[in-house]
Symmetry: C2
Subunit: 316 residues, 2 copies
């Protein structure tokens, strides 16, 4: 003996109506409930009436010059307490997120940032938004962008040589700093020079870094009319530097990687290129109408980092 099921749960009852029921149960009066909710008394009156016809059940009865809830009204009001509380909890959670009082900043960055920029972010995060946790992962730019695309991180700190980065649709690149690339050679090869022209080392053996860096090296060499003989590929900057110091090969190393290594081996020298070559460091994030709190926070933190200590100059 099933009664006519309420057709569409969507329109059956509304959170506003739940709030009204709750207010009615609390105040016991249409007028006061209306005042509580910032509505006019007729608004509440009509609203309840409509719910009553929708549910085909009376919710309030007049009692004296006031009203009281019927059994059905009390049932709804009971549930309304939970509903209202849950919605408010949700709003509070969102508010906390937006106010950077909760949540996690999921960040991916490239290796040489791990020892420089990322620790700086951590420090700032601890003071600026101590209740936001940092979930950090390290990856080279292409993989980092993939993680961003797949929603595994909120933003990706990448580097890029000549605007060659392939960004996924719907993402935004925010340039942060520009750094110069140096040539690291053994002391004797430097011969007291304070800068280097790439072509001078055309005949040397080369050590290449990650894939992007290798690509940059190849492109740079091609511009100078030679094809470098790459004898080693490694992400390991200290190893690269040690090899260069040993004189077995030369390497093209961005400033940040040098900074990450803290000190050069005694017998190695970093020579700025002449003409200089630049690497851009920036943040990639998904572009949404309202910037997500995490991205906003990340950008704010980054904007407060002074890149000078790693010889980074602010980007345009």
């Amino acid at each position: 003996m099933s009664t006519t099921r309420t057709a569409d749960p969507l329109g059956a009852i509304d959170s506003t109506e739940m709030r009204i029921l709750h207010a009615l149960a609390t105040t016991g009066s249409l007028t006061q409930a209306a005042a509580t909710l910032g509505l006019s008394q007729p608004a509440v009156s009509q609203r309840i009436k409509r719910v009553e016809t929708r549910l085909a059940v009376p919710l309030i009865e007049r009692q004296g010059r006031g009203i009281r809830l019927t059994t059905a009204g009390n049932i709804l009001a009971d549930h309304a307490r939970t509903v209202v509380a849950e919605i408010d909890a949700a709003l509070a959670a969102i508010d906390d997120l937006r106010g950077e009082r909760a949540g996690a900043l999921r960040l991916v960055a490239f290796p040489s940032a791990s020892a420089t920029i990322v620790p700086a972010i951590m420090r700032l995060l601890a003071s600026e938004a101590p209740e936001v946790s940092l979930q950090y992962r390290e990856a080279e730019p292409p993989a980092a962008i993939g993680m961003l695309r797949d929603g595994e991180v909120d933003c990706a700190l990448i580097f890029d040589y000549e605007g060659a980065a392939e960004l996924p649709a719907g993402s935004t690149f925010t340039p942060l700093w520009r750094e110069t690339v140096s040539l690291v050679v053994s002391e004797d090869r430097a011969a007291g020079l304070t800068s280097a022209q790439l072509g001078d080392y055309a005949g040397e053996h080369w050590i290449a870094g990650c894939e992007k860096c290798r690509g940059h090296l190849m492109a740079a060499a091609a511009e100078c009319g030679f094809e470098p003989e790459i004898i080693q590929e490694t992400d390991n900057v200290p190893a690269m530097l040690a090899m260069a110091a040993a004189g077995g090969a030369v390497s093209m190393v961005p400033g940040l990687a040098l900074a990450a290594a803290r000190t050069l081996p005694d017998d190695a020298v970093a020579l700025p290129l002449e003409p200089p070559r630049y690497r851009t460091i920036g943040l990639v994030s998904m572009s949404t109408a309202n910037e997500s709190p995490q991205v906003r926070l990340c950008k704010r933190l980054l904007s407060r980092i002074d890149g000078n200590r790693w010889n980074l100059e602010a980007a345009a």
Copy 2:
């Protein structure tokens, strides 16, 4: 450092939007969510967009040709699960109430109904709506109406002599049966008669029942031009009957009260009045636009009770 608090929780987020969030988390697609909710895809799209601007937080991001929820979106979706469940539970509870599969029928009736009509209601309730419990209280009509007015019961079964019942505003009286009033006298006083005229007993001592019945007796006697000498007032029908049987006094007793007593004492006789006097039995309930499930149920049960066994005739 509190961010701009969301102004009005009322308009901040809506149960429909919670449903949408939930559907999005479940299906992972605007199109499927829309289908689930019986909406068009643009409707869902726009709605989410509006919530995003209201909360100033992105909730979804495009991923490939689909979408995914952001952190904020997931937070809301989590809470949405609870909200949706609670609202559906509320609707189900209302539906059960309306479908008479839950709740309680709070009834008050007058004493002589307690042994007659009310047990019949109980039996019918057990077969018709076994999941509805009966909360029964006994009270004379005036008190019963007070309880109804105060919302302590859903409906009140009362009797009434001459439409003299004072109903509270907003209540409805539904007449059910009409019964005759008899004079109970000792066998020797009856002298073999099969009916009685009130005036014949003007000089007797009288026993009056409850206040309403006493009022009726006074009114009836006044019509016959005498004022009865009332020596006893009691609600206790067997006692009244026993006293009448003993010959100490006569009593005016409605049929239902006689039926409630099951049998008359051997030496007492019940004489129908000539001309007959009637008492009406009916149900009082609060009048609401949609009749409450409890009242509806009660009326349905009462309509299925055959009053003949207590010499009740159906009311107009």
